[in-house]
């Protein structure tokens, strides 16, 4: 390893068999499947709203964002990661993740 190699921590997860990573500083927490309230008329990538301990967080469907096939009905995504916006501590979006 050379000196200029920087070490970064990533939160990794799998979607549809593919391995992805998100910089851990962007991850506030990882959640299990939550009841969601869908938002009619919203962009199709918006899965719904979840109640994160009294805060309302928009859940995005990463599968949709990445153009992958939707989860077959009946199989709930396993967990979510919630990423705070770079500038604020408020969770901005959460993403469904399979098999973290």
């Amino acid at each position: 390893m050379s000196d200029d190699t920087e070490c970064r921590q990533l939160c990794t997860f799998r979607i549809d068999g593919l391995l992805f990573g998100v910089e851990i500083t962007h991850v506030q927490e990882v959640l299990r499947a939550q009841p969601m309230t869908p938002v009619p008329l919203a962009n199709a990538a918006v899965r719904g709203l979840i109640n994160l301990r009294g805060q309302i967080v928009t859940a995005l469907d990463l599968r949709h964002r990445l153009g992958l096939a939707a989860l077959p009905p009946g199989i709930e995504p396993v967990s979510w990661t919630s990423t705070p916006a770079a500038s604020s501590a408020r969770p901005r979006r959460s993403r469904p993740v399979r098999g973290t």
Binding site: P35, M36, T37, P38, V39, P40, L41, A42, N43, V46, G48, L49, I50, N51, G54, Q55, I56, V57, T58, L60, R92, R93
Partner: protein
């Protein structure tokens, strides 16, 4: 100025902006004395006006203080008696502080001189009304010759609102009570006939008034609960809402409950959806969306902003004439096309003509007919080309500035006298609105708009 960093909900800020301006003007105009008077009282020649804003116990307090003359309680007492605002015996018992509050009564001004910025007696009552509308209070503290302090207390946020919870499909939505007018429930066989249609817009007749109807499931693109198989069990819930100055009805699956809800903003990803004002967390932890009534009305097209028209003045003038009249008015009923009977104020019509297809001649601008030694241009609303030779045509002639134009319509039906109560109900374009004529919902045609659309040159020539 103190407390510039004090933050306020934007909606609240909007509500206090005008009152504050007014209060500041008042203080400068009436409160602070002229320099000479100040000097004689041992005050600095320059008056001072202090604006303070700070938080106190979940409220924001805004204070406007001046070191001026204070309120002239004798003048207030005199004025109140003069204007008969408060009974004389009550005034006699009032403390100075109570007297000071009298300036909030409508029509009160103690200023000797009316200037262009204040003193017209419309002001402090408006200040009070505006502040109270957002749940705040106004207090006035005054010490003669020392100064006046006006203190406005307003809630930090309008975030907690009473709302009606309704169910649509599998989900619940909150409707702010402030927009709610009434709830209508229709049961049994009546559900089949309750909703009528004007063209494609559904309407409901609520005590003789036409109410545009929005189906929440359709508006949101979600599915509704399947209609009850048994007509006896069928029911229709209509929530009558007020959006600005327009009323409309929303069909929902079920009405649940009223609740005090905490309004939470939606994420930036969802800000663009005008139909929702925010979201809230219900007692069971579920998230519910809050409907934005004005946004919903616009989304569903029941409160669409009127399109600009080539003749806006004439349109509005004409609309004014029709809607202002509550007495009987002669209406011409005719079928414009497709056998749909519509109405037109008879006053707009110069005359009716029966013409034969054979009389028609063709020009670049469409059909014309020789008439009384002149040329009468025609607007073909029925498709004359398909008529056989020898057929007769019904023509409505409209005259303006000694120029005439004829509208070929399908059929003249009748002339009736009706009290016209014009309702806007989601219709647009060539229609002024709808009214109940002889027990049937009939659209009133905007004749000028029809002509403007089919024969724009008719009005253009006039402008030239």
């Amino acid at each position: 100025m103190h407390g510039k960093e004090t933050e306020l909900d934007r909606t609240i800020l909007e509500a206090v902006k005008d009152p504050l301006t007014h209060v500041v003007r008042n203080a400068i105009d009436h409160g602070i004395e002229v320099p000479a008077a100040r000097a004689s009282r041992g005050k600095p020649r320059t008056g001072s006006l202090v604006l303070r804003a700070f938080h106190e116990g979940g409220q924001v307090i805004i204070e406007v203080s001046d070191d001026g003359n204070g309120l002239d309680t004798d003048a207030i007492r005199k004025k109140a008696l003069e204007r008969n605002l408060v009974p004389a015996e009550q005034i006699a018992r009032m403390s100075d502080h109570e007297l000071a509050q009298l300036v909030f009564l409508p029509g009160f001004s103690t200023a000797q001189q009316v200037t262009n910025v204040s003193g017209r007696g419309v002001g402090m009552d408006v200040v009070k009304t505006n502040v109270e509308r957002i749940g705040g209070t106004v207090d006035l503290l005054s010490r003669p010759r020392v100064g006046t302090t006006l203190r406005i207390r307003i809630p930090l946020t309008l975030a907690i609102i009473p709302a009606l919870m309704v169910a649509q499909g599998d989900h619940r939505y909150a409707i702010p009570q402030a927009n709610l007018v009434e709830l209508v429930r229709i049961e049994g066989a009546a559900t089949r006939t309750a909703i009528e249609r004007i063209h494609s817009s559904p309407v409901y007749r609520l005590r003789g008034q036409l109410l545009p109807i929005v189906d929440l499931g359709v508006a949101l693109g979600t599915t509704s609960a399947p209609p009850a198989a048994d007509i006896e069990d069928a029911r229709l819930n209509i929530v009558v809402l007020q959006a600005d100055d327009r009323m409309f009805g929303v069909i929902i699956d079920d009405i649940r409950d009223t609740e005090e809800i905490v309004v939470k903003p939606l994420g930036t990803e969802l800000k663009g959806i005008a139909v929702f004002a925010g979201a809230t967390i219900m007692g069971d932890g579920q998230v519910s969306l809050i409907l934005d009534v004005v946004g919903l009305a616009q989304h569903a097209g029941v409160a669409r902003a009127r399109k600009d028209d080539s003749t806006p003045e004439t349109r509005s003038a004409q609309r004014g004439v029709i809607s202002a009249i509550d007495t009987k008015q002669a209406l011409l009923l005719f079928a414009m096309r497709d056998s749909v009977v519509v109405a037109l104020p008879l006053a707009e019509v110069a005359r009716l003509e029966e013409l034969s297809v054979d009389q028609l001649e063709c020009t670049r601008n469409g059909f014309v007919v020789q008439h009384r030694g002149g040329i009468l241009p025609l607007v073909d609303l029925v498709g004359v080309g398909q008529r056989k030779r020898g057929d007769s045509l019904s023509v409505i002639v409209y005259t303006r500035n000694e120029r005439s134009i004829g509208l070929i319509v399908e059929r003249i039906v009748d002339v009736v006298d009706e009290v016209v109560r014009l309702e806007q109900c989601g219709t647009e374009g060539d229609v002024l609105g709808a009214a109940i004529v002889q027990g049937k919902i009939t659209e009133l045609v905007d004749l000028q708009a029809v002509i403007g659309r089919h024969a724009p040159w008719f009005f253009e020539a006039e402008a030239a």
